[in-house]
């Protein structure tokens, strides 16, 4: 990022009037490049306000909170833990047990299951005469399980003296925006990751003044290829599973990259419009996916390890696709802002003839952009197949438009030569946040479509106004 214009405005700001300051700010490159970031923040703030609600946490941290309360106030209490089945419930219950066991209270029972399992355990404890001071559970169970209701507990207490003091304990609830729950934010990021990753390649292509309509079918193609290959490799038991997965994934990404090279070569060699060439490649890719999959049926992959690639969260609980997305964006940002190749990409898009006459290998640069775009679409396909544990020749329909929308909303000019990688990330997040926020606030699907369409038009309009800045003063 460069702040020179803004700095200049600041340095001489004392003598300028308010209007000039404001004008400078609006015209500064910072606002031009990152104004969309503020739009994203505004959207987040809006949806946060709209989704404030009673929150009933079920998490490891909530479990620790409840357990600590008991450890501190009732150090000698006997505790029964009952929770329904579920990933978060399990984490919650384990946290309660661990924290209690680290202190002095006794865990006399641990139930993961349904209401009747809890009733059975209570009866067992009552018959055995084991005293129970607290029944630790979570919000849903406490409110909905009959056995944990006041009347039932009173009946139990009347029947078994050891249960006389039994009391239901659950984490306190609080008011907080559903949108801003950490788990929810990660979900939004995760849902955005696929589009955002493919949008990196699309940004490169659009910066060279091209377009790639084939990404969606390449996602499907790569998804099918990786699925078929994994199934094929896994039949040979003498390869390790990890080796199979890596080989299959790399092959799928490479195949998509080669398709990108093909696209780029056709576009540059014959000087054809990228729109038409990639429209053709889009069809070809779909056809190939269909061929490899042997039809429209999904190709199932029975490999937990492969599913883990997309579904896991190996880095401090952040979903793997989000981590991959972040790493790729950092790499792409460095490529675009600090390398010769990045500079060439902008120059080729801005003025191919001037670039060529300055010694830029214009055609190779364009082919590179399409190759990366293909490769990232391939990676998107691998992640998609991993998420669903299958590759579908009919998958990712219409994704190319979402990806292009993300790039355009992110401020990249369709005329080429202008655009920022981080802008595309913000564009993808804006689309993701709006989609998610509208779902949370129960906006109808038809209204959602209208909002998205309007958003794209507004983004292009902003691009037009921005470019008028220098073109206008040039006439």
């Amino acid at each position: 990022m460069r702040f020179c214009t803004a700095n200049k405005a600041h340095a001489s700001g004392l003598r300028l009037n308010e209007y000039a300051n404001m004008n400078n700010l609006l015209r500064s490159r910072f606002v031009a490049n990152y104004g969309m970031f503020f739009v994203l923040l505004l959207l987040c703030a809006y949806f946060s306000i709209m989704t404030v609600a009673e929150q009933n946490p079920v998490s490891a941290r909530a479990g620790q909170g409840v357990a600590n309360y008991i450890v501190e106030n009732h150090p000698n209490a006997n505790v029964l833990i009952v929770v329904p089945e579920g990933v978060n419930d399990h984490l919650y219950a384990e946290a309660v047990r661990e924290t209690l066991e680290a202190g002095s209270p006794n865990v006399v029972g641990f139930v993961v299951g349904e209401a009747k399992d809890a009733a059975t355990e209570l009866n067992r404890l009552g018959e055995a005469g084991i005293e129970v001071r607290f029944i630790v559970t979570q919000y849903n169970a406490a409110n909905n399980w009959f056995v944990l209701g006041e009347k039932q507990l009173a009946d139990k207490a009347a029947k078994y003296p050891s249960l006389r003091q039994a009391q239901v304990a659950k984490p306190p609830s609080y008011r907080w925006p559903t949108f801003l729950m950490p788990a929810h934010l990660l979900t939004v990021a995760n849902q955005t990751a696929l589009v955002a990753i493919v949008a990196i390649g699309m940004t490169l292509v659009i910066i060279t003044a091209g377009i790639d309509l084939s990404v969606a079918s390449l996602i499907a193609f790569a998804g099918v290829v990786v699925s078929v290959l994994i199934n094929f490799y896994l039949e040979f038991t003498f390869y390790s599973v990890a080796y199979c997965l890596v080989c299959a994934s790399l092959t799928a990404v490479l195949a998509s990259a080669i398709t990108g090279v093909f696209t780029g070569a056709i576009v540059t060699r014959f000087d054809l419009p990228a729109f038409i060439v990639t429209l053709g490649v889009m069809q070809i890719g779909r056809g190939l996916a269909w061929k490899v999959a042997g039809g429209s049926e999904p190709v199932r992959v029975e490999s937990e390890a492969f599913h883990h690639l997309s579904a896991g969260a190996d880095l401090v609980g952040i979903p793997n696709p989000v981590v991959i997305m972040a790493v790729l964006y950092i790499a792409a940002h460095i490529l675009m802002s600090h390398t010769t190749l990045g500079r060439y990409l902008y120059a080729v898009g801005g003025n191919p003839e001037a670039a060529r006459l300055s010694g830029v290998p214009v055609k190779s640069v364009i082919v590179f952009a399409y190759a990366i775009c293909g490769a990232l679409a391939g990676l998107g396909g691998v992640l998609d197949a991993s998420m669903f544990s299958n590759g579908r020749s009919t998958g990712a329909m219409g994704y190319e438009l979402q990806v292009i929308a993300a790039v355009v909303v992110g401020g990249t000019s369709l005329a080429g030569g202008q655009g920022k990688m981080l802008g595309t990330l913000i564009g993808a997040l804006i689309l993701g946040v709006i989609a998610d926020g509208m779902r949370l606030t129960n906006v109808a699907i038809d209204t959602q479509m209208i909002v998205f369409g309007s958003l794209i038009i507004i983004a292009v309009l902003i691009d037009k106004l921005k470019s008028r800045r220098w073109r206008g003063s040039n006439q």
Partner: protein
């Protein structure tokens, strides 16, 4: 036309021009490139509104602010680029734009009859149902003329009508012009070719630097007198030429060919020499430079630098060998207008600022800062968008980017076009410095005073060939150069 004035940002294109045209006469409009001829006829055709001045036709004042006004006033302008739709027939093109309402029906039979009539009127029978893309250039031109006549044009303006025609087609054009004259249509005829003017024009009007030099009947003029009127002013001290010591041959070009544009061009440039390369537009000067630089593919020819043969197929190779080209059209070919000045400066020099592909912004901006200071480039900061600079400053950015390459041979294509006098002077001083440092310069220019003022030696091109070489620059006149450029003389 009386007192026509027109300014574009930074240029006063027309300074009070008067033009009179009688019916049934052909008035030739002459002048060097940039004299303002095109601007004048664009005003007449309604493409640009004038800043001041009045237009009268048959004693009646008319206001022309757009092409429709011009049509209504009976003025038809045939530009160098035709306005025909290639995929429509002759008839459809003739009636394009006058079909009436969008939903009204077209009357093919009536249209065909009228088309045939008007084509016969100018003596060019063409099948009215042929597609325009199947016609020869000469026929397309005839259709354009017929289209103007169909709109009852009483004045027809032709901008370099013969430039794209074969000799035979030019004859046909002349017949059309004579036919029109006989029908009392007034014709304004712009051409660089003096022969044609003596053959077809009744009077000649000469313009220079946006001013009216004079209008005389053709019978009172000689070729030399016409060239004098076109070239005009005497040389003065605008050119701070300092001759450097001229050494051995550096760039040697032999037998350069590209289809019909560059034909068998051979020359050499020596250490410390400024070689002026001049000629009219379309003479093949820029094309020659592009061949040397590898911007276009050459059909044949060899290029040597310091005795070593070079195989240049791409600008990259020329740049690597130490040849650079400052293009004629800065905006289209020299600069990426949407990028910052620093990025433009860095484009051919990134290798020297980067390690393993990673650019050191610090080294780049330090290198640029040096040039900004020495060339006195006026920029707010290095991140300023290039498109917002004035022409002179843009040209300096181009200079900076090539100076940083430290090239051995520098080809300047119209280095001072469209920039102000001060910046021009600085560029001349820079050329002196470069030749003093032992570089070789090829300077392509249409400005004869500049060519005479700054060159050590001059080559003149005409229709793709080198038609003359001037070694004793001090004793040659602009008229003599002009004669070489229009193909009248072969030696001086």
């Amino acid at each position: 036309m009386r007192g026509i004035e027109k300014s574009f940002p930074g240029v006063r294109a027309l300074k009070g021009i008067d033009l009179d045209l009688n019916s049934g006469e052909a008035l030739a409009l002459l002048g060097e490139n940039g004299a303002g001829k095109s601007t004048l006829i664009k005003i007449l055709g309604g493409a640009h509104p004038p800043d001041a001045g009045a237009i009268e036709i048959d004693g009646e004042a008319v206001s022309i602010v757009n092409p429709t006004d011009a049509q209504k006033a009976g003025i038809g302008v045939i530009y160098q680029e035709f306005n025909l739709v290639p995929a429509l027939t002759v008839r459809e093109n003739m009636f394009l734009g006058q079909e009436g309402g969008v939903f009204s029906l077209t009357h093919a039979r009536q249209e065909r009859r009228q088309t045939r009539e008007v084509l016969e009127r100018i003596g060019v029978p063409i099948d009215t149902e042929r597609l325009c893309r199947e016609l020869t250039v000469g026929q397309q031109q005839a259709v354009e003329i017929a289209k103007a006549l169909l709109l009852d044009a009483r004045i027809i303006v032709m901008d370099e009508p013969s430039a794209a025609l074969t000799l035979k087609e030019v004859d046909g054009l002349f017949n059309v012009v004579r036919e029109l004259k006989a029908q009392r249509v007034g014709i304004i005829y712009i051409s660089h070719r003096l022969d044609e003017i003596f053959e077809i024009a009744d009077r000649v009007m000469v313009m220079r630097d946006g001013e009216h030099v004079g209008t005389e009947p053709i019978g009172d003029l000689t070729r030399n007198r016409l060239i004098e009127m076109m070239v005009g002013r005497k040389l003065d001290d605008e050119f701070p030429k300092k001759a450097a010591e001229i050494g051995e041959e550096r760039l040697v070009v032999r037998g350069l060919n590209r289809s019909r544009v560059v034909r068998d061009v051979s020359f050499s440039v020596r250490r410390g020499e400024v070689l002026g390369l001049t000629g009219l537009v379309g003479a093949g000067r820029t094309e020659t430079a592009r061949l040397i630089f590898g911007a276009d593919e050459r059909d044949s020819g060899t290029i040597e630098l310091d005795g070593k043969p070079l195989d240049i197929r791409h600008p990259r190779q020329a740049i690597a060998a130490g040849i650079c080209l400052l293009t004629e059209d800065r905006k289209a070919e020299g600069l990426v207008l949407g990028q910052s000045v620093r990025e433009n400066f860095g484009l051919p020099n990134l290798k020297s600022f980067s390690e393993r592909g990673f650019i050191s912004d610090r080294r780049e901006s330090q290198a640029f800062a040096k040039h900004v200071e020495s060339l006195q480039i006026k920029i707010a900061d290095q991140e300023q968008i290039t498109g917002t600079l004035s022409g002179g400053n843009q040209q300096k950015v181009v200079l900076a980017k090539w100076l940083e390459r430290d090239a051995e041979v520098i080809i300047f294509d119209e280095p001072t076009r469209g920039i102000d006098v001060g910046a021009k002077f600085e560029i001349y001083l820079l050329m002196n410095q470069l030749v003093a440092a032992g570089k070789a310069i090829v300077m392509i220019s249409s400005e004869l005073p500049e060519v005479l003022g700054m060159s050590d030696r001059i080559l003149v091109m005409h229709e793709g060939r080198v038609t003359g070489e001037v070694t004793d620059v001090a004793s040659v006149t602009q008229e003599q150069i002009m004669q070489l450029a229009v193909g009248l003389a072969s030696t001086v």
